[in-house]
């Protein structure tokens, strides 16, 4: 019986992956929010038409282990709740607990945060609660109880996401475009400028005056676009920064301003449309993952500069949009691409 190309993939993947899941969403997603071990949220990111905002139950195979996993044959996502939004979704965060759970949905082209409620148990439609208007031109990022809005420009505003009241403001040392921000602890946050690679750590204690800068550091990597990840945020936090020239630099925030590692990865330059994304493993602090260079997701050990794994499961002519390590299973990563694919892959790195 002849083996065709699609079957060749079957054989080559057998030993490469411990497990592999491949899904097709109706619209591509630029964000994957892990809510609990059994639930994730994604949102379509198209700029025309309606986009789906989905709150999904993860397949049993992803949630369970051992005998329980074997008995649960489901490898499919179940749509617990969904909604249609006229805006593309660039980022989702979750807040609240139990019945009061809320999705905070952001579109970077607008300065608003949409609040969607997961509370209604009688319907599988996510209801829109409110829109947090910030009055600033663009950009909005959010973490837990804190929203930072107007991430482009010299000033950013802080909002309490429970009361939607402004609680402070940040004056950046110079105009920056936030490439995201990560909490190091309850009050300290780190961010990197998307266009200059400038790294900033700031103490955002609210109610005690404006947040103060803890660290401000020029980028030593060359490039026009940057992405970053924080490694081990709670113990000896480090910032890893990747530039579009393929340079990866790792800094220890607390120790000194000198880079721990700086390596040229020799990657081909990403296209204008591709999304640079850098993530760190919560289980193995030496491992980071990179996407945006070609259609693959790379896993590296930054301390030894060794490439550990290359995931090439997305179509070659699709643009990778986002990826994230699955917090509840070691060596498992979710990745999404512009053709609507959402993959979860588990290999040994």
């Amino acid at each position: 019986m002849a083996v065709d190309d699609s079957d060749e993939w079957l054989f080559s993947s057998m030993n490469k992956y411990e497990d592999l899941y491949q899904y097709e969403l109706i619209q591509p997603t630029r964000t994957i929010a892990f809510v609990t071990p059994g639930e994730i949220a994604v949102g379509g990111c198209l700029s025309t038409g309606f986009n789906e905002l989905l709150f999904l139950s993860a397949p049993g195979h992803l949630r369970l282990t051992g005998d329980e996993q074997d008995l649960c044959g489901e490898r499919d996502f179940f749509v617990i709740k969904g909604a249609l939004t006229p805006h593309g979704v660039d980022h989702i965060e979750t807040g609240g607990v139990g019945r009061e759970r809320t999705l905070f949905v952001m579109n970077e082209a607008m300065a608003d945060v949409e609040l969607w409620s997961l509370a209604n148990e009688d319907s599988d439609v996510i209801e829109k609660l409110d829109t947090m208007k910030t009055g600033l031109p663009e950009g909005c990022l959010i973490h837990d109880k804190l929203a930072i809005c107007g991430s482009t420009g010299p000033q950013a505003l802080l909002f309490d996401v429970n009361s939607l009241v402004q609680v402070g403001s940040i004056e950046w040392p110079r105009p920056i475009t936030c490439a995201g921000f990560v909490a190091l602890d309850g009050e300290t946050f780190a961010t990197v400028c998307q266009s200059s690679g400038l790294q900033i750590v700031w103490d955002a204690r609210v109610g005690t005056g404006s947040p103060s800068l803890v660290l401000e550091q020029e980028s030593t990597s060359k490039g026009d676009r940057f992405a970053f990840a924080v490694i081990t945020p709670k113990e000896q936090p480090k910032i890893a920064v990747i530039s579009d020239k393929g340079q990866l630099t790792v800094f220890d925030i607390r120790q000194s301003k000198a880079a721990l590692e700086c390596v040229d990865l020799g990657l081909s330059e990403p296209t204008k449309e591709s999304n640079l994304c850098l993530q760190s493993s919560s289980h193995k602090p030496n491992q980071v993952s990179i996407s945006g260079f070609g259609h693959c997701v790379l896993v590296l050990d930054w301390s030894t500069q060794q490439q550990l794994f290359k995931y090439d499961g997305h179509e070659e002519d699709a643009t990778p949009l986002y990826h994230q390590w699955y917090p509840w299973k070691e060596d498992m990563i979710f990745s999404s691409s512009s053709d609507g694919s959402l993959h979860a892959w588990h290999a040994h790195f």
């Binding site: 083996v3 065709d4 993947s13 499919d76 179940f78 002519d317 699709a318």
Partner: protein
């Protein structure tokens, strides 16, 4: 005002005993006549007293249509036709007619001879029922009477499964039965033309599901089977004789050949011999790949899969056995299971749904000890795996089918989820049409509009329409399948029908029109985002334009305004 009435007697917010009563243009049609595998009492059959309290159904039902041979779609047919009484025509495809009586007889044997039930249909009644069957071919218009005609479309799912369009006068309904929008190894994907029915009745088994890809599920299956036999264990795969069994056989055969494995694979005799015979007989109903290679190699003649003898179950060493029936509720599969269950090295893989009360259902719920007749206890130490290989459309597939046939209304049946508000909302927003999900016994009434056809020249129509509407920039709203627009540069106006692209209407002298022309061609050819060289958002918009009526016409208008220059520059380059 003309109307269409639909009432599910089964499969309304449920899976099982599919039976939908349809009244269209004064005609009454029964769509499927299935039984519910989860009940042993009167609830296993649809409640036919809804049609008439007593007496036969013949004068109340104009015809019965059966979509495919699964018992939850045809299992009540002999009961309805011979015990309740019906003498009218029963329409189904050739493979369904050939295979139905086999499954009905098999089910009758288990129910009557093994479980001792009375008041059940007999073998003779199955034969009498099948005499009323009229077969239909795919895409053949069959006149049921002077007013009603039906047409079958390929549904995938299982051999011979079909979706049916029922037309009475200007009203039409499409009933999908069970279908699959992605091709299998042994069956193709469902397909229907843009028939624009007043109502699409679609299954919704996986409507709230995003399915893992077929190749990842196959990979998982092969990995588990291989790891078990590699350690010397035995793998039991309980299957129904027809359906997924053939798919898994082709998969294992391919894998064994490629990996040069010598571990024996067996298939229990009886029903399965006939099953493979029917797949060869109805080869035109199988997938492109199977049809293409059939002259060189018959994919249903297996090199590595041999007939099973019950004495083999005691042989030492690894083996894989496909055995019927699929839920371990009787027969060879249960016998083999009892022998192999106490060994930790062995494995049982259940590839489908198991009804409550069956051994399959018990072990899937973690049962470690089972009691059989004469109080015999069996320890369940073997590895129990459940893998779903059933071929149904998921949420994306349902939306694809709706965009293919472009109905005016949608009805969801054959789905257990009561909460389908989100899917309803999606259908309404994406297609601008109503979506219903009735429960059993709930009547849905859909008013239809009838047009009076008036012959008129296209030139006059275009002129009058442009005068009446006033030309605007970009695309106007779709009206009755015709889109009209005006070129911004040359101001020439043109119309295109959703059914075909009439190039003669296009001003092809200027690049801007040619660009719109090209856009239409891409949409008609359904070029996917991945393959198109254009900006993905643009083609996303074009595709949505094609599939989503007036709303997407506005999307094309937007992309026309923004991206036309880009395309023209790339052409020049």
């Amino acid at each position: 005002m003309p109307e269409i009435r639909v009432v599910p007697l089964g499969a309304g917010q449920d899976v099982g005993r599919s039976c939908i009563l349809l009244t269209i243009g004064g005609k009454n049609i029964m769509l499927d006549c299935g039984m519910h595998m989860g009940f042993n009492d009167e609830r296993r059959f649809p409640d036919f007293s809804y049609v008439t309290k007593e007496g036969p159904l013949t004068e109340y039902i104009d015809c019965v249509i059966i979509s495919h041979f699964h018992l939850d779609h045809c299992g009540a047919l002999p009961y309805m036709s011979e015990l309740v009484g019906y003498d009218g025509p029963i329409y189904m495809t050739q493979p369904t007619k050939a295979i139905c009586p086999i499954l009905l007889e098999d089910y009758r044997k288990i129910t009557v001879e093994k479980k001792g039930e009375t008041n059940f249909f007999t073998s003779e009644q199955i034969k009498l029922c099948m005499k009323k069957v009229v077969t239909v071919n795919l895409h053949q218009v069959v006149r049921v009477d002077d007013e009603m005609e039906i047409k079958a479309y390929y549904a995938g799912h299982v051999l011979g499964a079909a979706m049916f369009q029922i037309r009475v006068g200007q009203d039409s309904v499409v009933y999908t039965g069970d279908y699959n929008m992605t091709p299998d190894r042994h069956l193709g994907a469902a397909w229907i033309d843009q028939c624009r029915p007043d109502l699409l009745i679609t299954e919704s088994t996986y409507a709230t599901t995003i399915r893992d890809s077929k190749r990842c599920r196959e990979r998982d299956f092969l990995k588990k089977v291989h790891s078990c036999v590699e350690k010397g264990g035995k793998v039991l795969i309980p299957v129904f004789a027809l359906g997924r069994a053939q798919e898994l056989c082709i998969l294992l055969e391919m894998y064994w050949e490629r990996m040069n494995l010598k571990v024996p694979i067996y298939f229990t005799l009886g029903l399965t011999e006939k099953a493979n015979h029917y797949y060869q007989l109805f080869i035109t109903w199988t997938s492109q790949n199977i049809k293409k290679t059939f002259t060189d190699r018959n994919m249903f003649e297996f090199k590595h899969i041999k007939p099973f003898d019950k004495s083999y179950a005691d042989n030492p060493g690894a083996m894989v056995v496909f055995a019927t029936p699929g839920m371990l509720h009787a027969g060879q599969s249960l016998q083999i299971f009892r022998k192999w269950a106490p060994s930790e090295n062995n494995m049982v893989i259940l590839p489908g749904y198991c009804v409550t009360g069956t051994i399959g259902h018990k072990i899937l719920n973690g049962a470690k000890k089972l009691e059989f007749e004469n109080k015999q206890m069996v320890d369940v130490k073997l590895s129990v795996q459940y893998m779903s290989f059933s071929a149904h459309a998921d949420a994306k597939g349902i939306m694809q089918l709706i965009s293919q046939c472009q109905p005016k209304n949608v009805m969801l049946v054959h789905g257990e989820d009561e909460k389908m508000d989100f899917l309803k909302q999606k259908v309404q927003k994406e297609f601008g049409i109503e979506c219903y999900k009735p429960a059993n016994g709930e009547t849905i009434i859909i008013r239809t509009e009838h047009n009076v056809p008036v012959p008129i020249s296209r030139t006059f129509l275009k002129r009058e329409e442009s005068n009446a509407l006033g030309w605007e920039r970009g695309c106007n709203e779709a009206r009755g399948g015709e889109w009209s627009t005006r070129c911004e540069r040359c101001h020439s106006s043109w119309c295109a029908s959703g059914r075909g692209f009439r190039e003669s209407w296009i001003c092809s002298r200027l690049p801007c029109c040619t660009w719109l022309n090209q856009c239409w061609k891409w949409a008609l050819e359904s070029i996917t985002v991945a393959r198109c060289r254009m900006d993905s958002e643009l083609i996303g918009s074009c595709f949505r334009f094609w599939t989503a009526g007036s709303k997407a016409a506005k999307a094309l208008s937007r992309c026309a305004a923004h991206d036309k220059e880009q395309w023209m520059e790339s052409r020049v380059a």
